[in-house]
C-alpha cells in the first residue's frame, strides 16, 4: 500500500535522508522515483545537485544576504526579521553556518517560491485523474496499490544545523495552516549525530524542539520524531530514518504503524500537552556480502599459503 506524500528535505542532513530514500525506493520498486511521493529539497547553497531525480523540486537558498541587508526594508518578511542584527544577514552561498536565524530569513525571502512549490505538489496529489494516468504508467499487477488515505507531509532535517531547523519550522507553519490539515511527520535528526556536535548544535536543537513541542500542543496533526544517537552512528541513523519513512509511506504495514503511532501520540499529548517521539532503531541481519566476505577470506588464506610455500621453496 503506497501513501501519497509530500517529502520536504531541508539542509544537508535532509538531503542525505533523501539519498537513502531514493536508494530504498530503487531497491524496492526498481524505479528512479515514484510520482506519488512529491519531493521538495531545500538547501542554503547556490549549486543545484546533479544527482537528484528529475521529478524532485530543488530550491537553492544561497543568497548573499549580507548584500541584501541594506535594502531589507523592501522585503516582504516579518518585521522582527528585519530587526535582526547584521550577523543574521549572512552570505548563504556556502551554507548557513549553523545559524538558523540566517536560514529563516532566506526561507522568508523565498516564501512565495516555497509556497508555490508546496501548493503544486499538493494539487498534484489531489488530482485524481493525473494520479490515475501516472499510476497506470507505472503500476503492474505485482505492484502495491495506492492508498486512499489523505496525503502525508514529511519533513526531514537536522536539529543542530542552520537550514534544517529553519526549513522544518517553515514547513510546519505552512502545513499547519493548510486548509486540508494534512498529517505532518517531522524527522528531526541530531544533535548528537549531526555533522558537527557541540554547543551551537545543542542550542539550535533546544530552540527547535521547544518550538515543535509548543506547536504539537495545539496541533494534533503534527507528529515529531526525534532521531538521535552517537556521531559514529550517523550513517546508520540516516538509513534507519529513511527506512522508517519508507515503511510509513511505501510498505504494506505502513498504515497499521500509523494507526498505532496515532494512539501513542494522542495519549502522550493528553498527558503532557505537547510531546515529541524519540525513535530508536536496532537491526539484526546476516552480514552484508557474507558470501563475498567468505570468498575473500578463503582466497586470502589460499594466497597466503601459496606465498608461504613459495617463500619456503625459494629459500
Amino acid at each position: 500500500m503506497l501513501t501519497r506524500s509530500i517529502i520536504e528535505l531541508h539542509g544537508t542532513t535532509g538531503l542525505q535522508v533523501g539519498d537513502e530514500l531514493l536508494r530504498q525506493a530503487r531497491h524496492f520498486y526498481k524505479r528512479d522515483w515514484l510520482p506519488f511521493w512529491q519531493v521538495i529539497a531545500v538547501e542554503t547553497t547556490q549549486e543545484v545537485p546533479l544527482n537528484l531525480p528529475r521529478s524532485w523540486r530543488f530550491i537553492p537558498l544561497g543568497d548573499s544576504l549580507d548584500r541584501a541587508y541594506e535594502r531589507r526594508e523592501q522585503f516582504d518578511i516579518p518585521e522582527a526579521m528585519k530587526q535582526l542584527p547584521k550577523e543574521a544577514w549572512q552570505d548563504l552561498r556556502d551554507g548557513a553556518g549553523k545559524m538558523p536565524a540566517a536560514s529563516a530569513v532566506a526561507y522568508a525571502v523565498h516564501r512565495r517560491t516555497l509556497e508555490n512549490c508546496r501548493q503544486q505538489a499538493w494539487h498534484y496529489l489531489q488530482d485524481q485523474q493525473q494520479l490515475f494516468y501516472d499510476w497506470q504508467a507505472w503500476a503492474s499487477s505485482d505492484q502495491p496499490i495506492l492508498s486512499n488515505d489523505s496525503p502525508l507531509v514529511i519533513l526531514a532535517g537536522a536539529t543542530g544545523g542552520g537550514t534544517g531547523p529553519a526549513g522544518i519550522l517553515n514547513g510546519v507553519r505552512f502545513w499547519i495552516q493548510h486548509q486540508d490539515r494534512p498529517r505532518i511527520l517531522v524527522f528531526a535528526i541530531g544533535p548528537h549525530c549531526g555533522q558537527g556536535v557541540g554547543r551551537v548544535e545543542f542550542a539550535n536543537a533546544a530552540r527547535l524542539m521547544a518550538s515543535l513541542t509548543q506547536i504539537s500542543a495545539t496541533s494534533p496533526q503534527l507528529w515529531v520524531f526525534w532521531v538521535d544517537g552517537q556521531p559514529r552512528q550517523r550513517d546508520f541513523l540516516l538509513r534507519e530514518a529513511a527506512s522508517l519513512i519508507f515503511a510509513l509511506i511505501g510498505r504494506p504495514e505502513g498504515s497499521e504503524m500509523r494507526r498505532l503511532l496515532h494512539d501513542g501520540f494522542s495519549k502522550a499529548r493528553r498527558q503532557f500537552n505537547g510531546c515529541i517521539c524519540r525513535a530508536d532503531f536496532a537491526r539484526l541481519r546476516i552480514a552484508d556480502n557474507l558470501r563475498r566476505q567468505a570468498a575473500e577470506d578463503l582466497l586470502l588464506e589460499a594466497l597466503e599459503e601459496i606465498e608461504r610455500g613459495e617463500h619456503h621453496e625459494s629459500n
Partner: protein
C-alpha cells in the same frame, strides 16, 4: 641452444666438407668460404624458429613452477646464455691456436704422406678438422649474436615474470587490505560460513586460484590487481552455496540478547521514565523466527520474507523536559544568547523569540522542579533575553 650446435654439426659433417672440397676442386679456401656461407644461411634461416622454440620450451616449463621460482630459473638461464655468448666471443684466440696447431699437423702429415697412401685417411681427417675449425671461427660472431639474442629473450621473459610477481604481491596485499578494512557493523550477524566443511571450501578456492596463477608468464600482469581480485572472487562466488537466512543462522541466545538490548529507554531522561507509557515497539521479523517478546513490552510484529533482516523500531513519547541531557542543551542555549547580547540567532523563528523564551522558562522550572541535581541553569539569563 643445442639445436644450433646440431645445425652446425650437420652442416660441417665429413660428407658436407668433402662435398664442399669437391665443389671447390680441392681448394681449401674456397671450400671454407662456401661452407661459411652455407652455414650462415642455415643459421639465419633457422635462427628465429630455434629462438622461438627455446622460448616456448621455457614458457611451458615455467607454467608448472611457483612465481618466485620462475624468476630464479629465468635469471639462471639468462646468466648461462650470457656466459656462453661471452665464452664463445672470447674463444677466438683459442680457436686461432687450434687452427695453427691443426695446420702444422696437416703440413707434417702432408709431408709424410707424399707418395704414401697409408696416411691419406688420416690426412683427410685432419683437413676436415681444420676446415671445421676455420668455419666455426668465421661463424663465431654469428653464434655470439644468436646467444645474445636468446639471452635477451630470456631477460624479456624474466621481466614479464617479475611483473607477474608484482601483480601477485599486489593481489595478496590488496585482498589483505580489503579484508582488514571491512567496516565493523554491530548490526550484522557474522555466522560460520560456508556451511560445507572448511577443507573442501579451501580446496575449491585453491583449485580456482591455480587456474589464474598457473597461467603463462606475463598473463597475470595484463590485468590490474583489483580486477583480478574481482574475477577470482566472482569465480569463487559461483561455487559457494547461498548465504543462510537469519532464521537459519541466528541462535536463541543471540536473539534473546538482541531483544533484551533493544533501546527501550534511550534518549529519555531517567527522571521522566516512570511517567511515560511503555514504548511502542514495531518489529519486522523474517519468517521462521520463534515468537518475539520484548522485555515486558508487547511488540507489533510484521512477518517478512525469510531472507529479510530483523528490524526493531522503538518509539517513546516524551515531553520536552523528558529529553535526556536537556539541561546541557539549555545551558548551550543560554550561552549562545549571551554571546550575541540577547539576540537569539540560533532560533529558526527569531520573530517568535519572546514566546519561545517564555516556554523555555516554563521547561526550566519543570526540569528544576523535577529535583534533578544535575541542572544548574541561570533562569535570569533566559528571562533577560
Amino acid at each position: 641452444m643445442k639445436a644450433i650446435e646440431r645445425i652446425l654439426d650437420e652442416q660441417l659433417s665429413d660428407s658436407c666438407i668433402a662435398k664442399a672440397l669437391r665443389n671447390a676442386n680441392g681448394d681449401r679456401e674456397d671450400a671454407v668460404d662456401s661452407l661459411v656461407q652455407q652455414c650462415r644461411q642455415e643459421l639465419y634461416r633457422s635462427r628465429e624458429s630455434q629462438l622461438d622454440n627455446e622460448e616456448q620450451f621455457l614458457r611451458s616449463q615455467l607454467t608448472r613452477m611457483p612465481f618466485a621460482d620462475r624468476i630464479a630459473a629465468l635469471r639462471e638461464r639468462e646468466k648461462k646464455l650470457q656466459n656462453y655468448a661471452d665464452q664463445v666471443g672470447e674463444s677466438l684466440d683459442t680457436q686461432s691456436d687450434a687452427i695453427n696447431e691443426t695446420e702444422q699437423e696437416y703440413t707434417f702429415y702432408a709431408a709424410l704422406a707424399t707418395g704414401n697412401s697409408e696416411y691419406r685417411d688420416l690426412l683427410r681427417g685432419i683437413l676436415h678438422r681444420l676446415i671445421r675449425l676455420r668455419v666455426r671461427q668465421a661463424l663465431t660472431p654469428d653464434l655470439v649474436d644468436i646467444y645474445r639474442e636468446a639471452a635477451h629473450r630470456v631477460e624479456a621473459l624474466r621481466r614479464q615474470a617479475e611483473g607477474d610477481w608484482q601483480v601477485y604481491l599486489q593481489l595478496v596485499n590488496g585482498l589483505r587490505m580489503r579484508v582488514n578494512s571491512r567496516p565493523c557493523d554491530p548490526q550484522a550477524l557474522v555466522v560460520e560460513y560456508p556451511p560445507a566443511p572448511k577443507r573442501s571450501a579451501r580446496n575449491l578456492v585453491r583449485e580456482i586460484l591455480r587456474r589464474y596463477l598457473h597461467r603463462p608468464v606475463g598473463d597475470l600482469s595484463r590485468e590490474s590487481p583489483d580486477s583480478l581480485i574481482e574475477r577470482i572472487v566472482g569465480d569463487c562466488l559461483s561455487y559457494l552455496p547461498p548465504a543462510p537466512t537469519l532464521a537459519e543462522a541466528v541462535s536463541q541466545q543471540t536473539l534473546r540478547s538482541f531483544l533484551l538490548g533493544l533501546p527501550l529507554t534511550h534518549g529519555v531522561d531517567p527522571g521522566e521514565q516512570p511517567r511515560l507509557e511503555p514504548p511502542l515497539v514495531f518489529i519486522e521479523a523474517p519468517a521462521g523466527l520463534p515468537p518475539l517478546e520484548v522485555n515486558g513490552v508487547q511488540p507489533a510484529v510484521w512477518e517478512q520474507p525469510p531472507n529479510a533482516p530483523l528490524v526493531a523500531r522503538v518509539f517513546k513519547f516524551i515531553p520536552l523536559q523528558g529529553i535526556e541531557d536537556l539541561d546541557e542543551w539549555l545551558e548551550a542555549d543560554q550561552a549562545m544568547c549571551e554571546k550575541y547580547g540577547g539576540s537569539v540567532l540560533h532560533s529558526a523563528e527569531p520573530h517568535l523569540v519572546e514566546e519561545q523564551n517564555r516556554f523555555l522558562q516554563r521547561i526550566i522550572e519543570l526540569v528544576q522542579g523535577g529535583a534533578d541535581d544535575g541542572v544548574h541553569l541561570d533562569k535570569a539569563a533566559v528571562t533577560r533575553v
